[in-house]
Symmetry: C2
Subunit: 439 residues, 2 copies
Amino acid sequence: MRLSTYFLPLLRENPAEAQIVSHRLMLRAGMIRQSSAGIYSWLPLGLRVLRNIETIVRAEQDAAGAQELLMPTVQPAELWRESGRYDDYGEEMLRIRDRHERDMLYGPTNEELITDIFRQNIKSYRDLPKNLYHIQWKFRDEVRPRFGVMRGREFLMKDAYSFDLDLAAARKTYNKMFLAYLRTFARMGLKTVPMRAHTGPIGGDLSHEFIVLADTGESQVYCDKAWLESDVLSTEVDYDDDLEPFFRQWTSLYAATDEKHDAANCPVPPDRLLSARGIEVGQVFFLGNKYTKAMNVSVAGPNGEPVVPEMGCYGIGVSRLVGAIIEASHDDAGIVWPASVAPFGAGLINLRAGDAACTEACEALYTTLNKAGVDTLYDDRAESAGAKFAAMDLIGLPWQIVVGPRGLQKGVVEVKDRKTGQREEMTAEAALNRIKAAR
Amino acid sequence: MRLSTYFLPLLRENPAEAQIVSHRLMLRAGMIRQSSAGIYSWLPLGLRVLRNIETIVRAEQDAAGAQELLMPTVQPAELWRESGRYDDYGEEMLRIRDRHERDMLYGPTNEELITDIFRQNIKSYRDLPKNLYHIQWKFRDEVRPRFGVMRGREFLMKDAYSFDLDLAAARKTYNKMFLAYLRTFARMGLKTVPMRAHTGPIGGDLSHEFIVLADTGESQVYCDKAWLESDVLSTEVDYDDDLEPFFRQWTSLYAATDEKHDAANCPVPPDRLLSARGIEVGQVFFLGNKYTKAMNVSVAGPNGEPVVPEMGCYGIGVSRLVGAIIEASHDDAGIVWPASVAPFGAGLINLRAGDAACTEACEALYTTLNKAGVDTLYDDRAESAGAKFAAMDLIGLPWQIVVGPRGLQKGVVEVKDRKTGQREEMTAEAALNRIKAAR
């Protein structure tokens, strides 16, 4: 993509309305624009990151045996009356009346709707287990929306719902999702700690929330320092294995939110205790038969007897993750994207857009990079070198290739690693290989 | 994907509520389920088709120079008051009041919101032209939703909005979208005819609608028989060319909706006149400065003087297309998917799921097909051969591979072309090559 034509409205100044760094950087880097309180448009650069996050979430859900469908945003109130939540949910639920005066709502979550789909279509134990997910926009009418996409009203969430025949099978599914979540966040370059959590209004009696460690995080957490060395991606484990040992191992290390941490009785000695800031990016719940009972769901068991399925639900804040990743990975100059979610693989800076040699070298490199599968943002604008460096640092692509007249005379370009800040001169070919090798 | 675990609730009987064939087949093939009048959940099979259609739409929009962003579903009423459409739009607009008693709405279209984004972020003629699109759920509160996804209330639409400095540039953009639309529908295996159209409540003074020819279409159309031989995909034309000759050529052949066709004064002789049924799947509009003027938008021109941009807007009914493609491509046994949008590339039928040799051959073929990039739906259920044939015909994948004990003794499987119905015995390797070659 050429910056001269790309819709990327960068801001030089910090917007006054943004209180936290991810909100500031998303506005400055032209990723989002607010249309109403807590409701955002995703501009092209922001949408690319959102889609990359979705892709990782989807891949791990699929690998864990969950199947994707897509439920609508607008739901009928009747289903929520069946579960008893229509009155319980309070003002956060955006209630809508249609032209025929029917009570509808903009879904804040989907337990009722998926349970209705299940009971209409699944009748036999032979069709279990089922784990169904979607990635869909939700609405929660927060009284004070703030922090950009971290606490918006219209937000993108992945929510999965599982149905199992008995407790043991439901526990297996819970463990699969537990693994999927750890892998999902790790693939986005995040250090994430699962913490035992309250179930809240969702119900059920077993729950973990997943907290990303970030210096600028919203809440205080305490955990064993061993978490910092944990690496789930290098753990040899398969979704079809017995995951109970894995689950035990990953929940044996101490981790607690501020509310639950009791310094006087903490089992971890002070020298091994990490006090850190965190951001919640996902939560998993074992629901039992709260919804299946309330909504009269059963399947025919092996001997024809009705069996009430055990449910679980599993949420990931997809749009929230965009903010969380920035909170966990930025510096004074801007965003530092992990390669797996970066909106482009590399940025190409033409230091002198009016110079024929520079332009020719850039065009050749631009073509080569894109052909090699390195999606490249090419700054071909007639701006100063300083403005281009600042813009590219702000956007935070993993690699920058800088092409200038002096380097070209020596036959080299400059390659900058955004994360380390390290710069190195090399031939254009070597630059391409460096970037390809790092993927 | 294995059918034994896939969430694919097939129906044997025609559902009473479905009046048209695409609605019937989408319900029977387990693609959608209704949650309220005109509001559907997309089950896994249906979602796959929807995503394939999106992919084609996106590819042609990108190729034509449009850039993707994503606007929210919920919009503030103020913007619509600025354009004057808040009161004009009528009951089809789903009006919402949030917890702070602010007037909001579920967007039925996005002219106001995109114009607001434009005026906030684009200030100079140097940033034009811009053509911005999104693929997002819309809501229109139809008084009588019907025909499944063909006339739903919550529906997926691609809408693009272009901004140009002057009429000549706006016309170029219109022509690019005109080409993109013809290519988009052709890539989905559809025969589509553009027809001059009224602009309606959208405004502006130039518009074409794109009508898919389908025997079971909703409206009557008349056109020159030469349309049947037209093939835009084999036309040598580039988005960067001067597209005016292309536009002239493609609008020179007669085509008119029932309302506009005047049999007495038709320029086409009867033997060349085609009377057919059609379905509208897209429409393009030149808007002029209706919205930019109403919303006080201008950019600084080359000499600093303010210029009011000329707009166009361009819609494709993405979810409607799923129904339209089925209307255009089905037979008595079920859906006949064009390969480009088929939910899976091939279906694999194990005629005797309990037989070791059959199962071994199927498993090997299943692995090979998926590895070769042919996404395969494997019917590994313990059902009768008849039920499996009927299910696979209903789902309508382009190819079926049938593995049975008698064939295996001869070292062959049966390959069926869903469209022609032709069956042929060949080795498993030849079957794989046949399917790969047809892509």
